[in-house]
Subunit: 375 residues, 2 copies
Amino acid sequence: PRVFRIVVLPGDGIGPEVVAEATKVLHVINSTSTNFELKLEEHQFGGGAIDAVGEPLPASTLKACQEADAILMGSIGGPKWGVDAKIRPEPGLLTLRKTLGLYANIRPANFASEGLLEYTPLRPEIARGFDAIVVRELIGGLYFGRRKEASAEPEVGTAWDEMIYTEPEVQRITRVAAQLALSTNPPLEIHSIDKANVLACSRLWRKTVTETLTKEYPQIKFDHQLVDSTAMVMVANPRKLNGVILTENLFGDILSDQSSVIPGSLGLLPSASLAGAPVQASSADFKPTPGLYEPVHGSAPDIAGKGIANPIGTILSAAMLLRYSLGLEKPASAIEAAVRKVLDLSSAGGYGLRTADLGGKVGTAELGDKVVEAL
Amino acid sequence: PRVFRIVVLPGDGIGPEVVAEATKVLHVINSTSTNFELKLEEHQFGGGAIDAVGEPLPASTLKACQEADAILMGSIGGPKWGVDAKIRPEPGLLTLRKTLGLYANIRPANFASEGLLEYTPLRPEIARGFDAIVVRELIGGLYFGRRKEASAEPEVGTAWDEMIYTEPEVQRITRVAAQLALSTNPPLEIHSIDKANVLACSRLWRKTVTETLTKEYPQIKFDHQLVDSTAMVMVANPRKLNGVILTENLFGDILSDQSSVIPGSLGLLPSASLAGAPVQASSADFKPTPGLYEPVHGSAPDIAGKGIANPIGTILSAAMLLRYSLGLEKPASAIEAAVRKVLDLSSAGGYGLRTADLGGKVGTAELGDKVVEAL
Ligand SMILES: CC(C)[C@H](C(=O)O)[C@@H](O)C(=O)O
Ligand SMILES: CC(C)[C@H](C(=O)O)[C@@H](O)C(=O)O
């Protein structure tokens, strides 16, 4: 059988708890397959790695990630390694993204089922039908430009950060958005978000997105919106943003977080960070894409260790991993179907289970077990 | 009587319509006072000025603004002067802000009355009691750093923008936030928003805010939050941000827009951009502060010329102008009381009037007349 290496980075806070449930699910997939084998290996990453070996991304972890077919991550960070700490977990994540060339962060935000509409903080009639995929450029912009700390000479007391983009960087992330838009027929609309009335980078962004889509994907409808106005629309009338929301690194950081609370179920949402355009495993042109998969939520130090975190976001991230990095569509869909069954209240066989974040009482491990059972 | 010069910049789109109602109100204030005189002079600004004289901020307009005691603005921009146009309205606004040193943008976001809760896009129980003032640094950061367009040599195809802050810039805006926090007893809490886990500017920001508040305002409680997480909290649990939200230019652009749709009544919200800390006109240490006052909404080209725009945001901006720049507390409060009366459904004499944006049928001019009547 074909062997796939999956590096598992449990990380900090609730990371290890939710990752344990996702690996439980992957082990089941593994044990029931005959034509492939999943080899999972755990590595240190984040705050835990700082405590153990003095750095968030030890060389051995980075090497394993570079050699892996895909990476499954929990979450990193916590008050122990705060902004004032000398060595912090976040640079480890940024280095990992950059080194592996993971330029495309993909975060779907939608309602897994109508029943979940009761958890949205918006009026249900405003949130109903919200269904967007945020495509965030992940290794450019303000995150990776040059910068100067206020403490550095000369000009102590002045700090600066550089936002920088090149045309090819914008082209390739635009193609990722287009690829995703083409996954439905007719294609999804693309909403490209920038601040072109102020920033030079945004003007480059807008021009390149227009050129790339017009030339290479004439069948896809798209528009341009300003980031400030988008932050309003996402609250006041989120369906207007249905389709693909395409944006640069920092705007994507803000807007993807904002979008992910609309379904009212942060704990349910997965994400993928890819080094290429995602192609459905079932498609004829499928090519595996290296990628890092993680839930949208953070390390939630306040509930860590209590066994109450929602593992669904991580389990669905594992499904994305099978689909985009390993080309295993069947087990990916099987996991998604199992998750729907476990969450669903309405349909015949649905279990209607809920963890604490959704007002329920089911624990992390129990929910993982139920997904395994439904599989 | 003391003479105050107020420069009026109606601007584009619905700007002239809403400004006309605010000046109507100011004329009434003027005609009923004996100890001061308001001299209003209108000037060209924005897209209209581009069409008329080829630039958004003609020298005569800038000069008038520099000599004025305060500025009342409508809104600028529109599809005619879009991002691709060679000469755009926005740089005019940015130059005006910078030249006048208007570093403090102040935008309250709250429910003028409980009755307005029906317009929030959030679940009423989540939005109820949301009451925040966004204090945005307005003449620093990415807006005023150096930048390079993609079309410029060398390295055609690469664009960059510089985010830059100095310690004194952060100190003075922190003091504005503190001043506003002290307007209640006990003081409001300050939530300082940054992206200190990535940006050098944000680390300077966080350190300077902490030092300034700890040393100069030990009685004020404050915390630091990341911008991505703030965008979530503002939707999921906005009351957690009650108090003063203190942030840099670009984050403030996004978060103030996001916050302003929570009350569901964008058309009702005023804003002030000041060259100093605002001191209530009724306070013993009152000093007039040069300032530009404008509604929070944009030029809304789709409804321009129809006479249906909501003038309340502009009328309330005029009230802020009287309070902060002219020291006229009484007429300021009188305008606010008249507005409450016009909007109010519940109380005895309330008129309960609504413009189209709030589902009503009252026109722009009629609403202005009613405010005058209530005065
Ligand atoms: C941890 C932090 C550096 C990171 C980011 O800003 O990219 C996080 O917020 C995310 O979105 O993955
Ligand atoms: C018009 C634009 C340049 C401006 C800004 O981004 O500051 C506007 O969005 C605002 O918030 O006043």
